[in-house]
Each structure stands twice: as C-alpha cells, then as structure tokens.
C-alpha cells in the first residue's frame, strides 16, 4: 500500500505540509511520558533519548564534528607537519600552513557540495548543489523508512539488504522487459519497493511470531541479500550479453527516472519522489490512525497491547513499510544514477541512512535535511580529493564524528554549555 500511496503522492505539493510540523516541542512524539522510562527496556530508552535530543544539539554536533575534522585535516597535511617541526623558531609558518590546509579543505567541501564559485556558467555554479541533492535522494528514502521503524521501537539495521533486493528486482524489470516510458518506470519503481518490502517483511514476521530480535535478523539478512545478488549476477539473466562480469545490463531508458533539470545535471525525478515520500511518512506517522498505533507501540508495547492494539501486526507493517522505502532507495541507484546492478550498488547507503535517520530525529523533515547534509559530504568527496588532495576518509571521519556526538547529547551540551532539557534534570536530581 505504501507503493501506491507513494507514487500517488508524487505530484502533490509538499513543502507547506512538511513545514507545519517543524517546530515540534521536545518529547512530544506521542505517548512519551518520562515516567514510563524505567519500565522500558534499556535499548528503547537509549533510542528515545537519541530521538529526543533537541535540534540545537544536532546542529552543534555537526559543528563539533567539522571542528574536530579540522584538527585531523591539519595532522594529515604535510606542510603543517613540516612547519610544526620548527614551531618555536617560526610560529607564523605553522599558522599559515594550518590556515591553508583548513581553508583548502573547507572551501573544497563548500565548492563540492554547495556552489562552485569558480564556475564560468550558472549551470556550473549550481551543479554541486544538484549533485548534493542527487546523492541525498537514496538517503532520504532509506532514512525515512528507518525513522518510521525507530519511532515504532524497531532498530532496523537491514536497510542495506532491503535496498539491494529492491534494486535487484527493479533493475531486473528495468532491463528485461521493454515497455513504453511511464509504465515501465512505474513498474520498475514498484518492483524496487516490493523487493525491499519482501526483505523487510521477513524480520518483521519473525519478530512478531517468534520474538527473534530484529537487529540480529536484519544484519544477517544483509549478508544473505548481498550474496544472493552476487549469485544472481553470475546467472545469464542478470549479465550482459557476451560478458561474464558480475554487472547487469544498463536499465532501459524507459525505466529510468527522467532528469529533473536537463542533461547537464544528474538530478532526477527520484528526488521529487523522495520528497513525496517524506510527506507521506509525515502524514502516516502524524495524521493517520495507523501512525498513532505505531508510535504507541514504539513508546510502550505492553501498554499498546493492553489498549487493544495488535503489536504483532504493527511490527510486520513497520518493517514492510521500512523495507519498501529502502527498496525505493535502491531505485534511486539503479533507475537514477547508476543505471546498472552490481554487488556494490548499495555502497554504504543502508548504514549511512541509519545515521541520517538518527540525525533527523526520525522525523521526515529532519531526515530530509540530514540526508542533504550527508549527500553534501558525499558530493564533496571528489573535490576534497582532487582539489585539496585530502584522503576521502576525512568525509567518513566527519560522518562518524557526527554519529558519535548525536549519540551523546550530554557531551555536546557540556561542550557548548547548553542547558539540559527539563526531564533530564529531573533524572539527574
């Protein structure tokens, strides 16, 4: 059902709708009463703490991550290290070397992710930002799905596998059948969502019926998905004619997302679909009865069951929806940017999306912004390497530091002397 709704949402206007929920007060995520905390399992309370960290903390975490990355950039820079060797005879050298290194790195990040100030044409000027949005698209999809899971109390690590299976099914439809444009694309997109949904259903079902922990099951299913796709890519049906490399044929043009801004930019309609899905996720969680049930289950499954909600059904549904979203993230890859299926199609999107969802506090709008931030960091990778000569690992370090700070809100608060929110003070006292 998410597929149908998602594609229907495609053309609806969304920004206003999304904006209205932005100023959400702390801890207003439904039935989250601090006094319940003790009754809940530890993992759930940690999860909730992360979700409740205020927007300011998130922003400061990003700032802190960029600052610490700056220190690493200085250490990685050869000129700085040389100048540090004679710091006391010519301190100015070191400071200018640090300035050069940091200036180069931060300007490379800016020019790679936001706008290119040296571009000769307007297209070249805004190209980096369109690239950022392109990179953000799969993260938005997958992050939305994970966010819904987190709010329902399910820590889904399986976006990677759901994405791959979705991508495999969508790509298969894309290169095997030859249909006219809108129908082919629609079928391939539905295929992606369906593949992901099936892969999400398995851990949901196992959790609901047998109590198998979703973290373990989804991690294992990631491996199964990877090796399954690797196996499929050794079969003729998934390989190019006359080649035995594990790479699929290119998806038909009729099944590719059309480009949004013309052939100069990589940005495709998948981004608009992602925004539509963000609106749908908001509507689902904030406005629908089902969303209320899911949030209630996330807040306290025992209470939800006592209140007559079907917790098993909720778990299965959440995982199916999350899987469908992750599958759509796969569509952004195989029908959007990559146009082929390989074992590397998923990259690290499934795992980055976990960070994105946490960073976005599992709220659709937050997820969109977090995905754009991460998309920007990814888009800056090439300029960082080529222009500033820095290892691309710096980007991974920044991402990891952001996660670290998000996971420890008190650390960020004490670093920047931010006041602790009211309910935490109570706990401390």
């Amino acid at each position: 059902m998410s597929d149908a709704d998602a594609s229907r949402d495609k053309d609806e206007p969304k920004p206003d709708a999304v904006d209205t929920k932005a100023p959400e007060p702390e801890g207003a995520g439904g039935a989250t009463d601090p006094s319940d905390t003790e009754e809940q399992s530890r993992s759930q309370s940690v999860l909730r703490q992360i979700l409740e960290s205020s927007t300011l903390v998130v922003v400061m975490a990003v700032v802190a991550a960029l600052l610490i990355a700056g220190i690493l950039i200085c250490f990685a820079d050869e000129d700085v290290r040389t100048a540090a060797g004679y710091f006391f005879s010519q301190p100015a050298d070191m400071f200018s070397a640090i300035g050069d290194a940091l200036g180069g790195a931060y300007s490379a990040i800016f020019q790679g992710a936001v706008v290119n100030l040296q571009a000769e044409s307007f297209a070249g000027f805004i190209k980096p930002f369109t690239q950022t949005l392109t990179m953000a698209t799969p993260l938005i999809f997958a992050g939305l799905g994970l966010g819904i899971g987190f709010r329902a109390g399910l820590f889904n690590i399986g976006a990677q596998g759901q994405l791959l299976i979705g991508a495999a099914l969508g790509a298969f439809i894309g290169f095997t059948f030859h249909l006219p444009f809108p129908i082919h694309l629609l079928l391939a997109v539905i295929g992606c969502a369906l593949g992901g949904a099936i892969w999400g259903f398995i851990p949901g079902f196992l959790k609901a019926r047998t109590g198998a922990h979703e973290v373990i099951v989804t991690i294992m299913l990631n491996y199964i998905a990877l090796y399954l796709v690797a196996y499929l890519l050794t079969r003729e049906a998934f390989q190019r004619e006359g080649s035995s490399n594990p790479i699929s044929p290119i998806v038909d043009e009729s099944a590719q997302y059309p480009l949004l801004l013309g052939s100069q930019f990589n940005l495709h309609w998948g981004f608009i679909l992602a925004l539509g899905c963000a609106w749908f996720a908001w509507w689902l969680m904030e406005r629908s009865t089902l969303g209320f049930e899911l949030r209630a289950v996330g807040a306290n499954p025992h209470a939800a069951r006592t209140a007559g909600m079907n917790v098993s059904k909720a778990y299965i549904l959440v995982m199916v929806i999350a899987g469908a979203f992750a599958g759509l993230a796969g569509s952004a890859q195989v029908l959007g940017t990559e146009k082929v299926l390989t074992t590397a199609t998923a990259g690290s999107i499934g795992f980055d999306a976990i960070t994105v969802a946490l960073l976005g506090r599992s709220r659709p709008l937050g997820t969109v912004f977090a995905a754009i931030l991460f998309g920007g960091l990814r888009a800056a990778g090439p300029t960082l390497q080529v222009q500033a000569g820095l290892p691309v690992d710096i980007v991974l370090v920044i991402q990891a530091l952001i996660v670290l700070f998000i996971a420890a809100p008190p650390l960020v608060r004490s670093m920047f002397r931010l006041p602790a929110p009211a309910h935490e003070k109570e706990v401390a006292a």
Binding site: P246, G347, G381, Q385
Partner: protein
C-alpha cells in the same frame, strides 16, 4: 595513579615542545627550493595523469594498489603531475571522473570493470581528454579510451605445469575471491597447465578448486580467515601446492601452507617473495600480472609520443604477465626445461593456455 598521569602528561608535553624546537628552514632554502622546482620543471613534462579507483580503494593489496604504484612511479620518474581519487561507492565513479576532468587531467586511468560504464560516459562527454581502463575491454573500441587487459592464463599455465611437476602428492589446489573473469582466468590457466603436464609427462595430477567452469571462491577479497580455511581444506585433501587468487585473502592461505610445512604456495599479481617476504620460504613461484608497469608505460606513451586507443594486452611475449623464479631444486630439471618450450608455444599461439581450447 593521578601522579603518574601527571608525569606522563608533562613528559608528553615536553616531548611535543622539544619536537617543535627544530630550526626553521633558512630563507635561502626557499629560494633554493624555487630553483629546484625550476630545475624540475625543466625535466618535468606538462602532463597530468589521474586515476580513479573502484570501490575497493587504493589499499586493496590487489589491482587498485598495483595501478596506484604505477601512477606514483610515473609521477616520480617521468615528472608528470599525478592525482588520484579513491571511490568509496559506485555513485562516486561519475563525480570522481568529472572532478578530474575539471582539474585538467590529460589522461585519466580507471581501475576495474565496474568503472566501464562511467568511463565510457565520461569519454563521450569529454572527447579531448584521454582515458585508459585497467582490466576491461569494450566491445566497440572508443576513440579516447585505451583498454588494458592481461592474458594471465598464459602465465598461470606455466605455473600450473611447474606446480604439477613439483607436487609430491599429485594434488594441487586453487581458489578465488569472487567468480569474475579476471580471477577465474588465473585458475583456468593453472588447471590447463596441470592437464598439459599430465599429457606430456604421463602424470596423474589433479587440481582441486576449479573444474574449468566453476570452483572454490571465498566470496570476498578481505577475509583472510576464509583463505586460511579454504587452503587448509585443500591441504587436508592431500594438496601440496595451493594458488589463492584473492588478493589479501591469499595471505590466509599462505599461513595455512606455512604451518603445514611440506607444501608450497603460488603467489599471484606480484612476486610474493618480495610483497610477502614473511612467506618467501614457501613460495614456489608467482603468477605476475604487471599492472603497475602497464600503467607506467601507458602514461609514458601518452605523455611522450602521444595517446593511442590501441588496447594494451599483457602477454608472456611483452612480459605484461610472467612467472617468478623457482627456489632451487624444487621443480624437476626436465619440467623447468619443458617450460621454455611451452612459453614459446604459447607466444606462437600453438598452445592454448585455457581449458576451453
């Protein structure tokens, strides 16, 4: 406890301070440096060679790393400017290529078949930039892309023949990382070489792990434990020569072979007596795949006489592939002398170094 931390902190701080007490380079040196750079500039050529890795990264102890060594050597010896971009995911290929085109690269070398589409696309969009791709060939040649591939089965054939001759138990083993043509071509040549030995010398040597169409694969190029287990499995079945075609996974196999004591290892890609010296005493030979030299030559040619899109094919003839020397007295004399004839036969095209032919 607290005191010792304090003392440690003071010691660390003073170490830092002392380290920072080095003397500044004299003003002169900067003048000299500029002299140097003008001297270098006289030597150096106005040519920028760039490289994009596949998602494995340049530290994969496999073909990305070999290619990287090639471009680094070109930078050091030819005086060309070099730049590299490492891909962390597939979606990086296109942007990395675009960034390098924008940075004014004259020749962009991409590594691996995964970059095939991205390279073709970038080549079509930038007809005045030249490209080369390692381990991949296009069905239709592209005017500004030079494919580089390697007939590694020719060398693996010789290694298989020699291994069959050296084997005491009459059983060899080989396994790969992932079943892709650039990996299985080694295994196929190895099997064909062993079969040839049986034919010529009347032996009865069998090869575990590859039957001509399918075989043993560990599933990745990272997990050394799997390499160790797979090799141990072969050793338990009586194999006494093992050829792992799996990058760093092969080191796991090497440790299994070393602890077995009476078995040999066949290295791949580079000479393992040099790249893995701790296992030098068990390396029978190595199947060499000189990606690094091919990259160097391609850059040299493009910077010097000019770029051609003619494919580079590494063979025994042009020493793009080859085998390393054997340790003394392990491979019987008659086998060693037969290898020269085989080498010539392969170069002349009389011997087909694969099981298919």
């Amino acid at each position: 406890m607290r005191n010792s931390i304090r003392i440690g902190a003071v010691a660390a701080a003073s170490a830092l301070v002392l380290a920072a007490c080095g003397s500044a380079p004299e003003e002169e040196t900067s003048a000299e440096a500029s002299d140097d750079s003008t001297m270098e500039a006289a030597e150096s050529i106005d040519f920028k060679a760039c490289m994009v890795s596949d998602a494995g990264g340049f530290d994969d102890a496999s073909f990305n790393e070999s290619a990287y060594n090639g471009i680094e050597r070109a930078g050091a010896e030819l005086g060309v400017e070099v730049a590299e971009a490492e891909s962390t995911a597939e979606s990086d290929y296109g942007p990395n290529l675009e960034a390098q085109v924008a940075a004014g690269c004259d020749l962009i070398i991409t590594v691996g078949f995964l970059l095939g589409d991205a390279t073709a696309e970038a080549a079509a969009a930038n007809p005045d930039v030249n490209f080369a791709i390692v381990d991949f060939g296009y069905e239709e040649p592209i005017e500004n892309v030079k494919p580089m591939f390697f007939e590694t089965d020719e060398a693996a054939f010789l290694a298989g023949y020699a291994s069959a001759g050296a084997s005491q138990t009459g059983t060899l083993g080989t396994f790969g990382g992932i079943n892709i043509p650039t990996v299985s071509i080694f295994m196929d040549g190895f099997l064909a070489g062993a079969n040839k030995y049986n034919e010529d010398m009347g032996g009865d040597v069998s090869v575990l792990g590859w039957d001509g169409t399918d075989g043993s694969f560990t599933g990745d190029f990272d997990d050394q434990t799997k390499g160790q287990n797979t090799a141990q499995g072969f050793l338990d079945q009586g194999a006494d020569v093992v050829m792992p075609v799996a990058g760093p996974v092969g080191l796991g196999a090497a440790s299994a072979v070393q602890s077995a004591g009476d078995a040999w290892l066949v290295g791949v890609d580079s000479d393992w007596t040099e790249s893995a010296p701790e296992y030098a005493d068990i390396v029978l030979t190595s199947v060499l795949k000189n990606i690094s030299n091919a990259v160097f030559d391609t850059i040299e040619q493009a910077a010097g006489e000019g770029f051609t899109n003619e494919p580079y094919v590494g063979t025994l003839e042009n020493e793009g592939v080859g085998i390393a020397d054997f340790p003394e007295g392990v491979v019987p004399e008659d086998v060693v002398s037969a290898l020269d004839g085989l080498r010539e036969g392969i170069i002349a095209g009389e011997i087909e170094p694969s099981t298919a032919g």
